[in-house]
Symmetry: D2
Subunit: 387 residues, 4 copies
């Protein structure tokens, strides 16, 4: 089957660049039916040498040391933004103005204002847009969504979600860009609370109001930079940490559910503990990214005496996306969330159908994040102002 | 070894009456070294027939249909209050005034005012006093306390605690006394949030301020009453539920730790899920009442590559209280928390040493509960006003 | 309700003496409906001082330094044998001949011959008899039995059971009586393999043939003795270990199921890991003593996509024995298996109905143990010769 | 970095063909440092149409409907055999004779004779050879190996390993080639017991003797064929199942360790439960393929009171192969075991160093499998005759 080539231009090349590139390359193997071939056309960054190495490692045919040239190129269909957060808006808007479809890492922007401008730009340009809340696309999460949408949990009472990490607990861990407000906007809030928030919005619905607190436990750190993944190296001197190490917030969903959220980089023993539990009138669900193939499900309607959480390995042919991979019990991993996400996006692109999560989701996520910050500052519940 | 008899007068006789009575009877078997024999002298209640049956079932020598006669009796050393909450204060104060030591179920009172009057009464009378936050006395929790006090976790960053139950999720479950504000003061808040709060105070320290929300999901229920344990039967008609089904709150501890608390009776699949996790600079701890013999512990100082939560069965001779029971790996259960609690209390009594948790703890717990209610109403963070 | 007194005479007083005594004392509290009161009449042993202390600690009214006097006493109804294994047969037979009902710890005897003589003696005397395979009486195990008997698993294909301990892994752990063939008959085989064998017989049926291996990893140990529970102290010199540290065997059940059994005292990290899994044509079950309140159950008939092991807390009113204790989610422990076992035995006694596991079970268990030893020696499959 | 192309010719194209093809394609992305590029040169099979589709799906440049032409082609460096077992020997020997390196799926052969001829052929030809016991290359298993080799467990006492599946429990599941002796040689034995055997040999050492039993629970099935993965479809009529549904065996390792092994396709609830536990004098390890990123480790030397199995997520940079993928806590899946396996093989190939598991491992594995069959038939322990 001849496939339509979709030429990707990526801006940025660190951890997320690796994850996206891999997904593009691996996509056709598992999504044979997708009438699209992603082509790694060009990658952009500022420093030529690491950029050249990234292009080679990831398999891009060319590179640009100025992202502006990338968005102007005629041979690019999609701009994929995996830069630090402070560059998202300018690139995305320029890309849209040049008629490119836009994929952007989360959080969509530094502020709601930025996010709104981005959304308006892609909508005005009529291009497709995607914000990379990839965890929605874990098969177990997709299956949870199906169960909830089918009414299997009934009215939702509770959402409790935590994103627990521990990679910066060492006070000598340096002040990398992810800890600098001017580059990243916020700390645990935008980096990981944004993920559990997106999962909650996806599964349960919109949030109406929040109360919150934020904390920076280690206020001064050695200067330094990311060395790849979540690793870092020091570079001399110290600086003030101006983003949150941890954030917690209470939420009221518009449908009446209560939410309790917590995101922290100071939960020792949790390398990447993105976990949630949802309780509804008919049952409950729980999930943890570190065991991402499993969904635990409880049904009140189970025979009395035989009620208990079932631990389900979501790798059977009838679980979402599972049939594309391996037989039941042969698990998949982190990277497959991106394959599924991009598989859905490209399908939407060729069919000209909108795919979620899009920039509208990015805006709404940002609105909640901003309400959380506002509530932490005002020491009061704050309504989420959607724009 | 001749033992001193401590004559118990108990007021109330439902689920908690059973748990306390059993512990008194079973105590000497496991606490051979304790120079005290609890004697089940008398039990008080209003309805003679169930009272007589309870006296026989629990092994009390006599009964009184008016608790006032009980507190006046010369042959009673300790008054143990296991009534609904609205009777705690009057009985405790009268008992103290008659020179009786006082054991009281939690929450100590309906209001901070009541709790303060109770504490003042026992202090003025110079009697011993105990509030039954029995979960402190699970061996794994005592062991957690020892680890924290020994500095094994270092500075505490996070406490997250949930008390998840599901026994009233059925909308047809009747409006028993535990759901009536005039009898119980509050719902999940005083009944189960009080427990996780006590564990947090015990393990981490005092709370300075809170933000909260409370919810009643099912607002009208059939009238009815408790039939024993957590069972109930309907008795015709319906009534308004005026207590909370669920409560969640954020907290700041005085030592800077962040707390996230949630208590609900609407978490399907959790019969009695009293669970917490604590993250400190050197490690983490987690525990769940339904697996109460286990403590999970993580240490940052473990050899790199070999770091992970250890699942420890706290039944070895060197674990607190464990040697009194069975060899390692032979687990104990819910009832043993009361044996340990009363063992500690009676030891304090004969040595005339204070034992925790006492009415001061009851007051402080109540102060936090009241701040939570206030914060839920004001929609703002509220300082906890300790009295 | 007036109850019939059943006067207990116990022979032996170590760990099992403590467990039995506690159960007798605690029984009426939870088994109110049982028309029997066990009375701790007398305890027998050889050394007066520890015997006197045991009598006091456990609550026996009197003691005898010769068990023969005990079995002759008119004021004893039941002889309970908790001695090392080499004394079981003589005491049990004498007790039966004096018309006493007999309770005996497991394994019933040192050899099949002994076991058969014991069974014949109690049958000839027409007394009630019980062998203390107490784990049958964990509520989760009783519930497993009910599910299997109700056909919920269908035809049974597989039983795999392990009893994993680690208390003698230290080569300096002394040569206590449990490691001496003349006192105990065998090592892991009779002590713990006997337990998983009994569970398998109870749940699945009789075993027809076995293949086996046995091993003694540490062949020489310091001399010493039990100090209580599973603790020990050295007493100078060394001796040869002539019992097995570990045993493994394959089995064919008469109904065609395959069995794989393993019992060892050299499985580091398992204090008391008595665990089994059973796979049938319609589903599976698994259980572990260290988490004894939980039963994991899998049903093929569950809706596709929602199939997984359910983790069931067997503490609900409809679980066997659970209603006697505490509300759902309030777990019980090791000691309660003895309460349930003795509750069943005394009920049978007053109703003059046989109760399992009895000496016939003890004989059958011993026949399998003997076949295992024979198969380990012959290096061939051996039929189990039931007698 | 210019890379040497290694041109792959694959024979067969079902489930394993997909897994291998994917690994070849994905290899360079994660093994940047590997100076080799696998090139999917040609694929061989008998039926042209499915073969053509497989070539397209997997990305092979050409195909051959006769594998003999494939092994004769000059433009092929490696022959990769993913056919049913009955074709392994002839293809592998022919490939070696044509000077091709050979990769072969497990079990290596139908019989020891075949396996020996295959090993002799590759040795005589001086080509590289690999048998695809891919589970050795799960990072957690490689880490277990490192711990054992470093003496962290000391002398090994016990290995217990199960491979539990449930895909043919339905009696109506058809008689696919994996259930036909003429095509596959044996059932659970060669298909899955071979895997746990290889893990045990890798981690603990060689096996000296075995006792065994084998069973076919469902003896007649509808005729049918594999439809991909572990799915199947019926094609009319029925046939006799002449391979084992389940096998269990006891083993003595040459180093004195006891082994207990079980492999079955009738363990309901286990889709792909390849699991083992190893107990040594200093500690224990356990692992399960369905949670393959985790290794549970117990050390006796841990501080008393703090001893327990640690659950370690083997995704940190210092865990074997983990750094190639994602940051800590971002798990990998089944397919990555093949990437690691092939990465090691190609590294060995370019450095001309032997890499394990090779055909010698295949022979030894087959020798144990044959001893197991012999022992099941003889109903006696049988020595493993290595050839």
């Amino acid at each position: 089957m001849p496939k339509r080539s979709i030429r990707i231009g990526m801006v940025g090349y660190q951890f997320m660049g690796k994850a996206h590139s891999h997904a593009y390359r691996d996509l056709n193997f598992f999504f044979e039916d997708l009438p699209v071939t992603p082509v790694l056309q060009a990658i952009a960054g500022r420093s030529e040498e690491p950029l050249r190495r990234a292009a080679e490692a990831y398999g891009f045919s060319s590179y640009e040391t100025d992202w502006r040239r990338l968005v102007e190129r005629d041979d690019i269909d999609v701009i994929d933004i995996v830069t630090p957060n402070n560059a998202h808006a300018e690139i995305a808007i320029a890309a849209a103005e040049h008629g490119k479809h836009v994929i952007c890492e989360k959080p969509l922007a530094m502020t709601v204002d930025e996010a709104v401008r981005m959304r308006n730009a892609v909508q005005a340009a009529g291009v497709h847009h995607l914000v990379c809340h990839n965890y929605r696309y874990a098969p177990a999460v997709q299956f949870a969504k199906r169960l909830i949408d089918d009414g299997r949990l009934g009215r939702i009472y509770h959402v409790r979600a935590q994103y627990l990490q521990d990679w910066i607990m060492d006070p000598d861990f340096p002040l990398v860009w992810r800890l600098r407000k001017d580059v990243t906007g916020s700390g645990a809030l935008g980096d990981i609370a944004a993920h559990i928030l997106d999962l909650a919005r996806f599964l349960v619905g919109e949030i109406g109001e929040v109360a919150a607190c934020m904390e920076t436990f280690i206020k001064e750190r050695p200067l330094g930079e990311m060395a790849g993944g979540l690793e870092a190296k020091a570079s001399g001197g110290t600086g003030r940490v101006d983003v949150d190490d941890a954030v917690a917030f209470l939420a009221r969903f518009e449908n009446g559910a209560m939410g309790v959220f917590e995101a922290t980089r100071f939960a020792g023993g949790h390398r990447n503990g993105n976990q949630f539990e949802i309780n509804g009138e008919k049952g409950s669900l729980r999930w943890n990214l570190e065991d991402m193939n499993w969904l635990e499900v409880y049904f009140h309607s189970d025979e009395p005496g035989l009620q208990g959480f079932r631990r389900i390995n979501c790798t059977e042919p009838l679980h979402p996306y599972a049939e594309r991979y391996w037989p039941a019990g042969h698990i998949i991993g982190y990277e497959h969330t991106f394959l599924n996400l991009f598989g859905a996006f490209f399908k939407g692109l060729v069919e000209d159908q909108p795919v979620k999560p899009d920039f509208e989701d990015g805006v709404r996520n940002q609105c909640v994040l901003e309400a959380v910050e506002k509530a932490a500052a005002s020491r009061s519940w704050e309504n989420v102002e959607y724009r």
